[in-house]
């Protein structure tokens, strides 16, 4: 393992920001794994640190295949993490909306450029992603449908679901989109939590990534058997939104199968406790996302179901 500073940025008042990468193996650039780009992505950083542990062991045993190199970047934006911010603290910009970056541009464009220049050219790119809303996810893998790489590859992670997403205009400045533009097959792995550590989901994510690397012949690793992944277009999943606002209670667990008409959660008045809304499933399927916070606004996605 080689620990390297991939990009540095001086701050007027803080210690220099050093984006650290851990390099395993030698030779062909095979896989890059990127963790936290936002200050609340603690789970994403944690999963990467676990990957560093695993890859270290594999490397010591000579189980990283000849002529394959793997790079792990646990955290890009730890500046924000250390002060409890989500985005770049100075101007509230999101590094994951700045790719491919621009070396003469604004600060976060320069960070994106500095990091991207080091993780470009890998055959596979894996990003530990988070969702902008508080909630629990069934660990799954997602891919942007840019026509470049085959969604079938998602099956090699052995997670329960692989979701294909049509890119929208604002996706064009994300890491994953730009990875694909520069011919890296890019995946987003969702390991449930964001600002807390969920050990079980972290285990699942680590095994999934190891399984994937093993399937591509980059490492040889023994992992517990995975799922036969079901591939599904995001547009085909059902999102249930809150019809009222108030105190939210979920009545189900993610991963559970529900029938059409089942009550998945309730919303009650925050002052008098009266139930103001029952959230019923409009389809039968598996719940892969549930909103997780005591308070909820109207029109908020509270459950996502795979039919």
């Amino acid at each position: 393992m080689k620990k390297k500073v991939l990009y540095s940025l001086r701050s007027p008042y803080r210690e220099q920001l050093d984006v650290i990468g851990f390099r395993f193996g030698h030779g062909k650039k095979s896989a890059a794994i990127v963790g936290a780009m936002r200050g609340n992505e603690v789970q994403q950083m944690y999963v990467c640190s676990r990957m560093v542990q695993e890859l270290k062991k594999l490397e010591a045993k000579g189980l990283i295949t000849e002529d394959h190199e793997i790079m792990v970047i646990p955290c890009i934006n730890y500046y924000s993490m250390n002060i409890g911010k989500r985005f770049w603290a100075m101007d509230n910009t999101d590094i994951n909306r700045m790719f491919p970056g621009y070396w003469q541009g604004e600060t976060t464009q320069r960070i994106a450029d500095g990091v991207f220049s080091k993780i470009q050219g890998y055959e596979y790119g894996i990003q530990l992603a988070s969702f902008y809303q508080q909630g629990n996810f069934l660990p799954h893998v997602k891919m942007m449908d840019t026509g470049f790489a085959s969604p079938e590859l998602m099956k090699d992670f052995g997670l329960q679901f692989g979701i294909i997403r049509k890119p929208r205009p604002y996706d064009t400045t994300t890491l994953n989109y730009n990875w694909q533009v520069w011919e890296t097959k890019a995946f987003s792995v969702y390991a449930n939590a964001t600002d807390v550590i969920d050990e079980n989901a972290a285990d699942e994510a680590v095994y999934a990534i190891l399984r994937f690397l093993d399937k591509q012949g980059i490492i040889s690793a023994n992992t517990p058997p995975g799922y036969i992944t079901k591939l599904i277009a995001e547009s085909k999943t059902k999102q249930l939104r809150s019809e009222a606002a108030g105190v939210f209670k979920s009545r189900i667990e993610i991963g559970k199968r529900v029938e059409r008409g089942d009550i998945l959660g309730t919303i009650s008045d925050p002052f008098d406790g009266e139930t103001v809304s029952e959230i019923r499933s409009t389809v039968s399927g598996t719940v892969y996302f549930e909103y997780f916070a005591p308070l909820i606004n109207s029109n908020t996605v509270c459950f996502k179901i795979i039919k």
């Binding site: 940025l9 001086r10 701050s11 007027p12 989500r86 985005f87 100075m90 101007d91 509230n92 909306r97 003469q104 541009g105 604004e106 600060t107 976060t108 464009q109 320069r110 902008y132 809303q133 929208r168 205009p169 604002y170 064009t172 400045t173 939104r241 009222a244 606002a245 108030g246 105190v247 925050p270 002052f271 308070l295 909820i296 606004n297 109207s298 029109n299 908020t300 996605v301």
Partner: protein, 313 residues
């Protein structure tokens, strides 16, 4: 008439309401929409909305048509000094056109678009951000320029910036409305969190001139200035390479020559100048950094070069 054009229930005993005021007189159904407050830290449009609305009230007989004023598309943001939508830390101007059955913000955006659509002209007023000061200008993308330029020239701005189209900007209100046939002009002027009365009055003149050109206004107007159009000119970007405190030594709007000293980045701890900042090209400084703390990459100034082949080159 004040109208709530979009609403959503918040968790505890409150609704998020987006409101507009319709000022109408005469027979004409021509409609101008004055829209602002998408970014909660931009306030120049607040004063502009006030002076336009109150002048129309006082001279309502001179109006023939409809003026809709939307002062706060992101009311929660303005109320909490937050650029984006506070609950989501989301830039509202990256969510358009929204969607009727989307998330709360997508739904609100879609209702906003529906309400403004059909206006003859929409003026969307922004005021940069807290970091940069801008001379009154209108920005448009190359594909929209043929339709918008004649109207932009009526607006009494100093500068019209025609820029390349970027995919990410397809999620703006202006792009959405222009795509749907509602001519929308994006104004940038002044600086975040402040009101520059002089600029608001300048735009005020532009709006009444536009109303007159649209045949909606028979009252007094003042002659408008001829804007500089960026076509055939380059814009020079001056970014900091060092971290520290930026202290400019030129004035906003000043014309400089390439290599002119325009400011310094200094370090308060070591008392050293860490970067001497020079103009990257000849031209007029139309953007200047207002907020002193800088990182490598922070934008310090933008310079509009003279027309190519011009005498200065």
């Amino acid at each position: 008439m004040i109208e709530t054009i979009a609403t959503a229930a918040l968790a505890v005993n409150e609704n998020l309401n987006i409101q507009k005021r319709r000022i109408e007189n005469g027979r004409s159904k021509k409609r101008l929409s004055l829209v602002t407050g998408t970014h909660g830290d931009e306030l120049e449009g607040q004063y502009l909305a006030y002076i336009v609305g109150s002048y129309l009230d006082e001279h309502i007989d001179c109006l023939d048509g409809i003026v809709d004023i939307y002062p706060a598309l992101n009311p929660m943001g303005i109320d909490s000094i937050t650029r984006g939508v506070p609950m989501f830390d989301l830039d509202m101007n990256r969510v358009f056109p929204g969607s009727k059955d989307g998330t709360m913000i997508e739904m609100l955006c879609s209702m906003i678009v529906d309400d403004i659509s059909g206006s003859d002209v929409c003026v969307d007023v922004h005021s940069s951000n807290i970091f940069l000061k801008e001379i009154p200008q209108i920005r448009m993308s190359v594909p929209t320029a043929p339709a918008l330029l004649p109207y932009a020239k009526m607006m009494n701005v100093d500068f019209i910036w025609i820029h390349d189209a970027a995919t990410v900007l397809e999620s703006t209100l202006a792009h959405t409305l222009n795509t749907r046939g509602t001519k929308t002009l994006v104004v940038e002027m002044g600086v975040g969190m402040r009101i520059t009365k002089e600029y608001c009055k300048q735009l005020f003149g532009g709006i009444f001139n536009l109303l007159k050109e649209l045949g909606m206004w028979s009252g007094e107007t003042t002659p408008v200035r001829e804007p500089i159009v960026s076509e055939g000119r380059e814009v020079g970007f001056v970014n900091s390479d060092a971290a520290g405190i930026f202290v400019p030594c030129v004035s906003f709007g000043e014309t400089v020559e390439k290599g002119d000293h325009i400011g310094d980045v200094v370090d308060p701890l070591s008392s050293k100048t860490v970067e001497k900042v020079d103009a990257v090209c000849d031209g007029m400084i139309f953007t200047l950094r207002e907020y002193p703390v800088v990182y490598g990459g922070s934008l310090l100034a933008r310079i509009l070069q003279p027309a190519s082949g011009g005498a200065e080159k």
